[in-house]
Assembly symmetry: C2
Homo-oligomer: 353 residues x 2
DNA sequence: CGGTTCGATCGAATCGATTCGAAGTGTCCG
DNA sequence: CGGACACTTCGAATCGATTCGATCGAACCG
């Protein structure tokens, strides 16, 4: 515990001198690229050992190489919020898989982070935008100006950005279709935040023009494709608590909806708890459908009807895209598809039973 | 989607030239530190705008300044595993809070990541070691040689490393004491991994000498302080599934233990499910105690008796320590305390009822 | 009206490694 | 025995910004 101070670090030049070789040779010995005799390498390594040299300074190497081996993962919210939803974790896992395999570290950034913005000052080779929205334009702009390749997950197609998409609209429509086929005519929605602010309010009629979060809009559109008109609540985030709050509000509506569409599984679980609290039987009195397909154990004891998205695959695709982009290739944008899992939380509408 | 190629980036020198000032002045204009007339700043900024200059290259700035504004967070496992346990997420959240406030980004690294090791080649100013074990020595060594301040969370005290601790042993003992006061004489443990490998096996008698994960050892010691002898299973990780597997095994023992000590709440939930599966009533037939104190909703419907650790605080402390270390100060090591939350999963031992 | 002081701007050195072409040393073959 | 070739090693330029001391002007004061 005593000596946390950092002693002056020896440089490659110092090592080279001690080893009796030039700096360039020493560099070759470390990087491994280039022809260096075994004996020389030994000598350099020994000198490094003797001086307590820990290898080339990544900062200098990054400057010279023009690469820092870091991929930025940009999230809008506080990091905690981002980690709170298992679907993000799964996705991040996929990213880490691919990027990590290529030797890149993941730098977690928030759009709001820092004063001038970490986006501008963080050393990275490329960026992955996650859960994009309002500030996306600004973020993309900042990143592009820095000359960084940008991959966005679930965002509008836009110039200079490779998009990894999800069939949010079609999937939502499929879910809604499932409800309609069960005879539901009165459905309500618990929407994800529209624009990163507030929430906890009724879904405004002009959501389509007001909302800025791509995912939220698309999922709402999908629902509207089947049910032209529906009431709803905007959740404060993708959490069980937010889902409960929203669920309570929707269940207090008159007439009470016979089905609730939640835009994430966590929200759905919250709704289910609110329903339970209200003494409703699922799916007898109320059908609930989620979105994401997080691990079943987290939804337990319910077998949630939901749209299962290949989150980890999505992450992998983003990670792989970044890697290829950095390699100078031009990967194709991708769009993943969800699968409807019909569980035990949806059933025939009460009125038609 | 068309132009993902990266056009050659203008440099500060180019901007300076266009603005008709020297590079040094342009630098001042951007960094804001130093006296620059408003007019000049305007001109420089305008020139930057015109050239599409996105600000100083962080790599070059990092080299010159000797700072990259990045704090490495080193985890042993795959990232996904680390995120899987909410307690880690909470802790990471704390770290992000403090580090983020100081303008630092979080670089996620794994000890095994990359070939030569990201630990050696990642640009960062300091490192926080999380969930440390076997490879800790090597990791610390590598980092220290690079001259980086190192903060370790829950690790043995060691030279050159600032430790943020937790009273794992005392807390575990308190939990065990709680069980003993309820009359339990036959307790079993579901241990966290001993050394990052395998698991899913009975707890070996020589765990104390074999195990390398600090947290696991300390918690086992705490239990032994109260119960000198106990059977156990080593889980494959801190997950509900692993807890279920371990729970099934322990419940199959003869005689069946009347209480099970799980070394994490997720494991405890798994044990509870295994108990439920076996038709046991909680706490009538079996008492279960966890460790961590993750959010109650995740443990629902149980009110788990557990040792609540201030995970986020721990993270904040680590983050704050790193920030202070980087500021040249010498923060004190800290040790946090757990609080026993007596829930509804522990009760009098069957035999004494 | 000259000297002083303060503020803005500039030059040049520096951070620490990487890289490419050139030079040096042996070896092998004709 | 001389020339070509292979393999190492070395020098020097470069990556792009930051920073410190010096310079230059102008305003201010006596």
């Amino acid at each position: 515990m005593s000596d946390l101070a950092i002693p002056p670090r020896p440089t490659l030049a110092a090592v080279a001198e001690l080893a009796g070789v030039s700096a360039s040779t020493a560099s070759l010995a470390f990087s491994g690229s280039g022809p260096v005799s075994a004996a020389t390498r030994e000598r350099v390594l020994a000198a490094a050992e003797q001086l307590g040299y820990g290898g080339p300074d990544p900062r200098a190497a990054a400057l010279r190489r023009g690469r820092s081996g870091v991929v930025g993962v940009v999230m809008e919210d506080r990091l905690a919020d981002a980690f709170r939803d298992p679907i993000n974790v799964a996705m991040l896992d996929g990213v880490a898989d691919e990027a990590g395999a290529a030797g890149a570290g993941l730098l977690l950034l928030t759009e709001s982070g820092g004063e001038v913005g970490q986006l501008t000052s963080a050393p990275m080779d490329a960026a992955i935008l996650v859960g994009c929205s309002t500030r996306l334009d600004e973020s993309v702009d900042r990143l592009r100006r820095r000359g960084l390749p940008v991959v966005a997950i679930e965002a509008d197609d836009r110039e200079g950005v490779l998009t990894i998409g999800l069939d949010n609209r079609e999937a939502s429509a499929a879910g809604a279709e499932h409800l309609r086929s069960l005879g539901h005519t009165s459905v309500a929605v618990v929407a994800l935040p529209l624009d990163g602010t507030g929430g906890g309010t009724p879904l405004p009629a002009d959501w389509e023009s007001r909302a800025t979060v791509h995912t939220t809009i698309e999922r709402l559109r999908g629902l509207r494709d089947v049910y032209p008109d529906f009431p709803g609540v905007v959740a404060t985030g993708s959490t069980i608590e937010a889902g409960m709050d929203a669920g309570r509000e929707l269940l207090a509506l008159t007439p009470r909806p016979t089905a609730i569409v939640a835009q994430s599984d966590l929200l759905a679980v919250g709704v289910l708890r609110a329903a339970e609290e209200a003494g409703l039987r699922i799916p007898h009195d109320l059908s609930v459908i989620g979105f994401d397909g997080i691990r079943p154990e987290l939804v337990r004891p319910w077998d949630l009807t939901t749209l299962v998205q290949p989150a980890q695959e999505k992450g992998r695709a983003a990670g792989a895209a970044v890697v290829r982009l950095l390699a100078g290739e031009t990967p194709e944008p991708a769009c993943f598809r969800c699968a409807l899992h019909v569980g035990a939380t949806t059933g025939p509408a009460p009125s038609v039973r």
